[in-house]
């Protein structure tokens, strides 16, 4: 009896809290007061911190309702294995093997290469590189893909005709044609979350802070991004293509493409 009364009381007390929570974290419709011109979002990655758990790839699929099949990804993890050089050669490093079984979702199975043959191995998380000169935006014939003033590259699903030019143009393989919407889809930096003041889902669940997300226009300058860029020697993927990716990688090996 006492337990029941206690339970009811607790329930009654919890209701306003739950309502407040719901109000705060699922604001609908559009979050008011969000001004795209006052932000410049960016995600950076630290290769030395990624442990290949695959939680980010899982979270991205859940958060963004990405089709289940194993070739649709907005973010994924690649495992690089660099073998020891053949004994009689002058090369410093051997063959480079790259795999990404199911995008790294659910973690990686043990490598097929014996440990003794591995010179070094590491995980590289991948996502849209948020290029300054984005090839995907340039080739879109209908103006359906665009660089937003706050740093994301988005696809307008009501304008996209699903021609697939952008998918071919992206040198990083970050886009796919969704079988559900029949439009091109890609990482949106979790635009529905960041405009509500939440972190992108992959950053939220990353256990090692391999993914650093921040706002370059943050007036408070307490942004994790600024510390990341100050403390690390950073590089971009495929810099020779002139796409000027904004996404920076710390501790990137030259074999990573």
């Amino acid at each position: 009896m006492v337990a029941t009364v206690g339970g009811v009381l607790a329930g009654l007390l919890a209701l306003p809290a739950a309502r407040a929570l719901k109000k705060k974290f699922s604001t609908s419709p559009a979050p008011s007061g969000y001004d795209a011109s006052k932000h410049k979002w960016l995600m950076c990655l630290d290769v030395d911190k990624c442990i290949g758990c695959g939680l980010c790839a899982d979270a991205c699929k859940t958060e963004n309702h990405v089709p289940e099949a194993s070739h649709f990804f907005r973010t994924w993890i690649e495992r690089y294995i660099i073998k020891k050089p053949a004994p009689a050669t002058a090369a410093a490093r051997g063959e480079v093997l790259v795999d990404s079984p199911n995008g790294g979702r659910g973690g990686f199975p043990p490598a097929l290469v014996p440990r003794a043959d591995i010179l070094k191995s590491f995980f590289v998380p991948k996502l849209c590189n948020l290029c300054e000169a984005s090839p995907c935006t340039q080739v879109c014939p209908v103006g359906a893909t665009f660089d937003t003033p706050d740093g994301a590259v988005l696809v307008d699903p009501s304008y996209c005709i699903g021609c697939g030019f952008c998918i071919q143009a992206c040198p990083y393989g970050c886009r796919f044609l969704s079988p559900v919407t029949r439009t091109a889809e890609k990482c949106t930096l979790c635009y529905h979350r960041i405009t509500r003041g939440l972190l992108p889902a992959c950053v939220e669940v990353c256990p090692t802070q391999a993914r650093v997300f921040g706002d370059l226009k943050n007036p408070l300058a307490d942004d994790p991004l600024q510390a990341f860029v100050q403390e690390n020697k950073v590089n971009t993927l495929k810099p020779h293509l002139g796409t000027n990716p904004r996404v920076l990688y710390a501790n990137l090996d030259k074999e990573v493409r």
Binding site: G106, A111, F146, H192, C206
Partner: protein, 152 residues
């Protein structure tokens, strides 16, 4: 002296070009969405549409902290201080948000091994175990996931 008069066939061509130009401008005005050049060569309204395209699924660590400040305080002391609740416990269910008596699933040892199983690809400084040399997939028999530094 006769003043210059445009030959009728030239006049017709000029009229046709003018009509084409006007119909192009009319069609362009009617077919271009209102917000098309707001930010650039795309629909400005698409930005706002993206914010409401989905509801957030992951509630975030801050949301959990509203009702579980004690757990977050414990967590902040140990090696798992940077871990988000939903990384191990899974996405917070709508039932759990509205009904506090509906518990979240307790994660099993498999989720621990997802990060801590030894792999040559993991950074060397990261704590890893070889399961068969260690004990079994029953991590929480000995370790406290919320305060992993407290080793029994």
């Amino acid at each position: 002296m006769r003043c210059f008069q445009m030959p009728p066939q030239v006049f017709r061509v000029v009229l046709l070009i003018f009509a084409i130009g006007v119909s192009y401008l009319v069609a362009r005005t009617l077919l271009t969405p209102a917000s098309f050049h707001e930010y650039g060569f795309y629909r400005g309204a698409a930005l706002a549409e993206h914010t409401t395209r989905h509801e957030p699924v992951f509630a975030g660590k801050l949301a959990c902290g509203v009702r579980h400040p004690d757990v977050l305080k414990t967590l902040a002391k140990g090696g798992h201080k940077n871990l988000s609740c939903e990384a191990c416990h899974g996405v917070v269910s709508p039932q759990h948000l509205t009904d506090p008596t509906s518990n979240m699933d307790k994660p099993s040892g498999a989720i621990c091994l997802r990060c801590h199983e030894a792999s040559p690809s993991r950074p060397a400084g990261f704590r890893q175990i070889v399961v068969k040399d260690h004990y079994a997939e029953k991590c929480i028999e000995c370790h406290l996931p919320h305060e992993p530094n407290e080793v029994p």
